[in-house]
Symmetry: C2
């Protein structure tokens, strides 16, 4: 907040108007540079009622190319948003590389309204916001947070002016007058909240908007300076942050997993039937109690992910689950934060999402093939723990399965696929190439499991040499987790 | 409805159960064939209360690969859906090529509920549905419509059974008992509606589900037969339909457009200011009255679309409009009906969407470059008229701009771009290639305008040799259209 903007506090109105013209053109030029540099920008526009947010928005975009920015008005307040984690709709507003999102009201507005109500401030809320903004900045997003402020008297004057004009009178409600009454109290609340969320990587900027021309001049100067500086020096990355702490459970390295267990055909059929029956029941309860469930499937090629997902899904009510197959990211997905496409597919409450491959691609294929820079995939362990923590705080059951087979068994299955005409489509050159990197992958997978095996989103290693054994273990794991969550264990 | 399914009406329960097992495997095999043949399938599951839709759904998917189908439960009933045309959410449910969408309740359910209420049946509703299904079939979608039926007595029995079981009692409401009371009346209404929507290209199938095993057997047989036949012979295309009638207004061929008009700098500034001011006002009214506005921009390369869109957008409240730049379709878009990506971007009511290039690509670049087969782009004139008619019936203002310049002016602008370093990024080899095809394009554009210049969604040819004149004409056209819609003209 104390950053010194290069602006003239004593500017006259005429000088300011000249400057505003110039700054708008400058912003339009910078927009082109952003596109070229692939630098994404998020501008949050918060402020008191009648502080001129609409006007500020018009000033910002007045010379911009409308194909390269997008305005979101009160995101996160749609009726359907209550069925997802509260950050979910905001992940949907982050821009593509080189583009600009402007949020008139943002995740802060939801926070402000919450505090107005009971003046309490949940720490987890601030933590979530901090994490979210930090994750964006670490990925190269420039986050600019503006707060437009006016005095109680000025607000009164503006509300009256709106009321007196036939074409704008409808915009003033009882609610606004209550806000005016309580303006100073609210400002105090806001100030304290702003202090707590004035992160190094995403600082707040107050805009004194009592005089619109002065407000516009200040705001445009700030935007130009911040964007220029990000283009010159990059978005401030968050090097010095304390390592986040997670409750990690110790795991067994893959090489020590006993893969000899199996199950007889008779037992398989009997147990499968019982597990399915029970899961069907539990799925009904989950739906009724609006508990969301996220199931992540990873494993070696040919380890049996597809078959396991099918068996599990056949035990579920098809109205209550989705399977999300995760392939190489599309151009659009590559132009966003890597978690973006997973946030988009989070289930509604009461629903189950099965991810066939997951966000862990970041620390496996993206790490080993060099698709993500080292500094970024190393940050991913924390980012992923944070992501899953967010889901579990929301109330979700989160389980991650690693389908494990040994190298010999993989070879057997690859050869079987190659030699069976109906299965040939399941084996590609890439599978063979990945197989050559087995040892590198094993190191990566061991590290991944070790660093992300949290209490709230545990890994379950599934011994997969015997497919039937593996399927039963998955069904049982899910069943037990749901029973536990429902208090039926 | 009278299609003879190859099934045994006198089958015993045991025989049926054997058949069901076999049919499920068959369906799973067909799913793989669908994927290979890139044939998309939509299954609508309608039926009386407690007729076993949930169970039927489980039977259908029980052996399917969950990565290749998606289930939608009561689409179109989310709170946000009321702000879009009622077909909008259903366009969102159509599958990719080779995949299956199953809709438990569909566009028909909304219709049924409407008729229950007042027993009136809007003709335009049936027309919309007919058009929608026909457009899908013409594009190669297989649409299967199932209606599950049971008797009043059987329904009563099932509701009581649900009620008596602690884990399912919550599923039975007063509403269900009212339905049971009125079952026979409702069935009559439904029958008459089904008759009216039993199109050749998408027929209804009744499933007698009084005995679940018989219902499952019938349903699975039907699905297998219909999918097999579509794989063998293709989806029935709608050759013999009567040409839809639209109110077409006669237009002037491009070669007869007078491009000599211009405007002085002084007049431009003065008029621009006045138009902007008025548009700003009107935008507020539009928002308040929840009138949606769709503005489509097409024109020659370098005709000034970008500049015109910028000028217009600067006159609008940024909270109330979106600009959608339309580029070559992505892989995902190519795997859907070509109108899919445009339906997705229809504005909310009270909002404005500016399309920078549009669905008319179908009859320009896709026609001339051979991206769409002749039979398909020829159907597009009607499809597009229907699409725009749907928007206008919904209450939208729809205007389409063709920015027109002559060949000489284009050359001047191309050369200017080539010779000005800051503009070089705006000129590509493709632009030059397109220029060589000017005459072919002119034929296509003349035909396009001639066939789609409807009263409700008119083309406006914008004389673009003078950029300022063009911008003013666009502002004036939009302003007048809004005034007319608002009754302020």
């Amino acid at each position: 907040m104390n950053e010194k903007a290069v602006l003239n506090e004593n500017i006259t109105k005429d000088e300011a108007k000249e400057q505003i013209k110039f700054l708008k053109k400058e912003l339009a030029n910078l927009q082109r540079e952003l596109k070229e540099a692939k630098l994404p920008v998020i501008i949050l526009l918060e402020g008191l009622g009648a502080s001129g947010k609409g006007n500020a928005l018009s000033e910002i975009i007045s010379e911009l190319d409308p194909r390269l920015f997008k305005v979101y008005t009160r995101p996160g307040t749609a009726p359907q948003d209550v069925r997802r984690p509260y950050l979910h709709p905001f992940w949907g507003t982050i821009p593509s590389n080189g583009e600009i999102s402007i949020l008139e009201h943002s995740w802060y507005n939801i926070a402000f309204n919450k505090i107005y109500e009971d003046n309490s401030l949940s720490n987890s809320y601030i933590k979530s916001i901090n994490t979210f903004e930090r994750q964006l900045c670490d990925d190269g997003y420039l986050v600019i947070k503006l707060f437009l402020s006016i005095t109680k008297q000025e607000q009164q004057k503006r509300l009256l002016a709106l009321q007196d004009n036939a074409s704008t009178a409808w915009r003033v409600s009882e609610h606004d007058w209550v806000g005016n009454e309580k303006l100073n109290d609210r400002l105090e609340i806001i100030n304290s909240f702003i202090e707590k969320t004035d992160f190094d990587h995403a600082k707040w900027e107050y805009i004194d908007n009592n005089k619109r021309w002065f407000g516009s001049y200040t705001m445009l100067s700030l935007l130009v300076n911040k964007i220029k500086s990000a283009l010159d020096m990059g978005v401030p990355m968050v090097h010095s942050r304390k390592e986040a702490k997670f409750d990690i459970v110790k795991t067994t390295p893959l090489k020590d997993i006993d893969l000899s267990e199996g199950v007889s055909d008779d037992d398989y059929k009997k147990i499968l039937k019982a597990e399915k029956k029970r899961l069907q029941e539990l799925h009904g309860y989950i739906y009724k109690k609006k508990i969301p469930v996220v199931l992540a499937f990873e494993g070696w090629d040919a380890a049996g992910k597809g078959g396991a997902i099918r068996r599990l899904s056949w035990a579920l009510d098809p109205r209550g689950f989705d399977v999300i197959p995760v392939a190489a990211p599309t151009a659009d997905e590559l132009a966003h934060h890597y978690l973006w496409r997973f946030w988009k597919n989070i289930p509604k409450d009461g629903h189950i999402t099965l991810f066939d491959r997951t966000w862990y691609g970041r620390v496996m294929v993206e790490r080993l093939e060099g698709f993500a820079p080292e500094v970024r995939w190393k940050q991913a362990f924390t980012e992923i723990n944070e992501f899953e923590k967010e889901l579990s705080n929301w109330g979700a059951v989160v389980i991650k399965f690693w389908l494990h087979i040994d190298k010999k068994e993989q070879l057997r299955r690859f050869e079987d696929r190659q030699n069976t005409p109906e299965k040939q489509h399941k084996i590609t050159d890439e599978d063979w190439r990945n197989r050559e990197k087995w040892d590198e992958y094993e190191v990566a997978v061991d590290e991944m499991i070790e660093k992300t095996n949290t209490v709230t989103a545990p890994w379950v290693i599934v011994e997969g040499n015997d497919k039937k054994f593996a399927r039963l273990k998955i069904l049982r794991t899910v069943r037990e987790a749901l029973e536990k969550k429902l208090g039926l264990d």
